[in-house]
Subunit: 304 residues, 3 copies
């Protein structure tokens, strides 16, 4: 069992991951995690502290061991093919977590490896464990995802996780408002796809107004996406989550963010009761524990 | 419970650390270390092989797991704040060991993290586990620290650990001779402070004469501290621990050094019976095991 | 017990390593590896993903912990001697795996360390665990090494492992054909040595003809070894293992390679039933588990 793309998952699959993460949360809370035996290889061809540490920490909570394949000081430099590298690491590990700047690389890796592959991000494409932990955070903090009104805010054109998140929200019947600056809107086909597939309510706007939001999910706007530096400054300023944006919002509204954040959320908002992104990040641990435990179970069936 | 500065510790605290290190030594000797469960994050924002490996090895002896946050390939590059980085890693670990070039950084980290923080060196300021292992080495090798005559030798102005060590020696009532070249003496206020606080006997001299020493603690003199290169050469030559300096010293005198050393101790002295710095370095293992075990105990109480 | 050079081993020693690797294979197969307690330090002064991951993975399968000394960000930069570095790491570990560009460095390390040293490659000299896993692969796949006809193919002058492999094949009475381009032949004295010592049949040729081969062991030809770039191209082309070379070979012939490979084996051959190098690489796990288990056993005897 690989985890390559969120799009490969049915609603039942996602709910199974929720149940697994909940079980892991229970075991963590009780300080009594059932230990497994196995080796997880982390192969990060581009830096991602957060994803790597989260997978490593989750593996260690399960009693798994880690070998870290460091892309830059490796055989790849000597000209070895991606296929050979994957096949070699496959011989040393029971699970491979891969992050690679090329779209589709995790899928390619899964063709060469016997070990289950967890996609830790392939270019601007997929980052399924992030989407799962985002949805799990909504379920854990708010209960019924289908009853939520979620604002996705920022550069929805480039942000890796936003398309998958939209898809996941559609799966559970949430209402979504896409709040993006002109030129950085989410791709038309992605919106059309979820509307058709889930008969989903999707509103698009450039105007920030969080009053009806249960969840505000913020992602960063990068200056370098604009040709006109003056426009960039003005858009960035508008899409910074200023304290006044929080006036009149629902009492239990929550702000999420995939992290790392730079200056899109100022310190005052950071310290507000709405800010939940560090708890969100922590949910990566039980979710990734659940993912890897499922992988080891399926690997065992496969091999023996 | 954090370990940020040696100055935060009472004599009772230090004696408690001694007792814990002794217990760890007993368990190591018996090949029967009681295993704990937890994750230690090492966050080294500047290189320090020795401190990092020592903490990692100590953690592993206790059965703890390690996640290594590598500063250079991290989110910090993308502009993330120190606070956010600490808060994120805090979500992945039960203890954080931090080394950072900025004075006070470990204290700052402790404000953002729920996990206990062990300061592995913050600039030229504090390195408390080093001071603890130095004092533990004295107790283990010589018994009563209060009965010792200790020479601190070298660049006492810049050496990170010397002020704390002086303070610790004062705490236990040792007699200290500060042997430094002109211009590299220990800061006046540090000396005044221990004299007042512990009614301590502190002698200052430029002259090397180890005949009355029970312990000679050497630290390096760096050429780059001098404007006049000729003077630098001459001072470095004088403060190299030549074999003739050892004529007439006490039979059981010991030479310590925080390591790494370069050329301040020549091979003949290295091979002498007085040289005890590698045993000193080894004492970092039981001391750091004791520190982390204490931290996990207190963390458990804190969290419930 | 160190493992520095294959030449230090008797046939009985090698057979003991085979038996240990077989036992490890049995335990891995049964999913029931007897766990040991201890720390392995990996000290790689030059990159070698494969060897490092293989040792780390083998250690983890045994339940051992790892501390990774990273040469480049270390005290060596500050001018510390090799001896001091080894002595320090020795204080933190029960086994040291070292790879260093300088010939003889592993032997030197073994003089300063109390912990057993495993040589993971010292310059162009020795890489004994590779030779052991190569021979173990032959035994496992083919049974009686003495009955084999082995072709060693490629740059036999510079390839690290080829001399030791020739020696090992001689030890077991195999028949060997050395197939190298002119100018890249194996050193005369190495051939004379095995002929004398084992009364070994060694044929030398520039002509590729695998029809009588049981085993074809390929190593890479590096362009930079030639002064004449045109000659380099022509020789590289000839020593690429083209599909037509496999016409008429024995049904159960196997192709081995120490990996990483670049372009010396084209995809068609890669996919053929003869290609066994990834299985060969996997045999590094049980062999290195056996090596480290033996080391820990002997260390325990040594220390008390």
């Amino acid at each position: 069992m690989d985890l390559i793309s969120f799009r490969d998952l049915s609603k039942e699959d996602v709910e199974d991951y929720f149940a697994r993460a909940e079980e892991m949360d229970r075991q963590l809370e009780a300080g009594n995690v059932e230990k497994l035996d196995g080796i997880v290889a982390t192969m990060f061809f581009e830096p991602s502290t957060r994803t790597k540490l989260s997978f490593q920490s989750a593996a260690e909570r399960l009693g798994l061991q880690i070998v870290d394949f460091v892309g830059s000081s490796s055989s790849l430099k000597k000209g070895e093919s991606f296929e050979d590298t994957i096949r070699t690491v496959d011989g040393y590990a029971d699970i491979i977590v891969i992050r690679h700047p090329l779209e589709g690389s995790a899928r390619v890796a899964s063709e060469f490896a016997e070990a289950p592959i967890a996609n830790g991000g392939d270019g601007g494409n997929q980052h399924p464990s992030q989407t799962l932990l985002d949805l799990y955070t909504l379920k854990k903090m708010k209960g019924d995802i289908g009853a939520l009104n979620v604002h996705l805010v920022g550069d929805l054109k480039h942000a890796r996780t936003m398309r998958s998140l939209l898809y996941g929200l559609g799966m559970f019947g949430a209402k979504v408002k896409l709040v993006a600056p002109s030129g950085l809107e989410m791709a038309r086909d992605a919106i059309a796809d979820v509307k058709r597939k889930f008969e989903m309510e999707v509103e698009e706007t450039e105007t920030i107004d969080f009053k009806d939001a249960d969840v505000v999910y913020v992602c960063r706007i990068q200056e370098e996406r604009f040709e006109d530096k003056y426009e960039a400054m003005s858009v960035k300023k508008k899409f910074t989550i200023k304290p006044e944006y929080l006036q009149g919002v629902k009492e239990d509204m929550i702000i999420l963010h995939p992290l790392p954040k730079i200056d899109e959320i100022p310190p005052e908002v950071d310290k507000s009761k709405y800010a939940k992104y560090f708890e969100q990040a922590k949910n990566g641990i039980p979710m990734r524990m659940g993912i890897m435990k499922k992988m080891l179970g399926s690997a065992r069936q496969k091999k023996g």
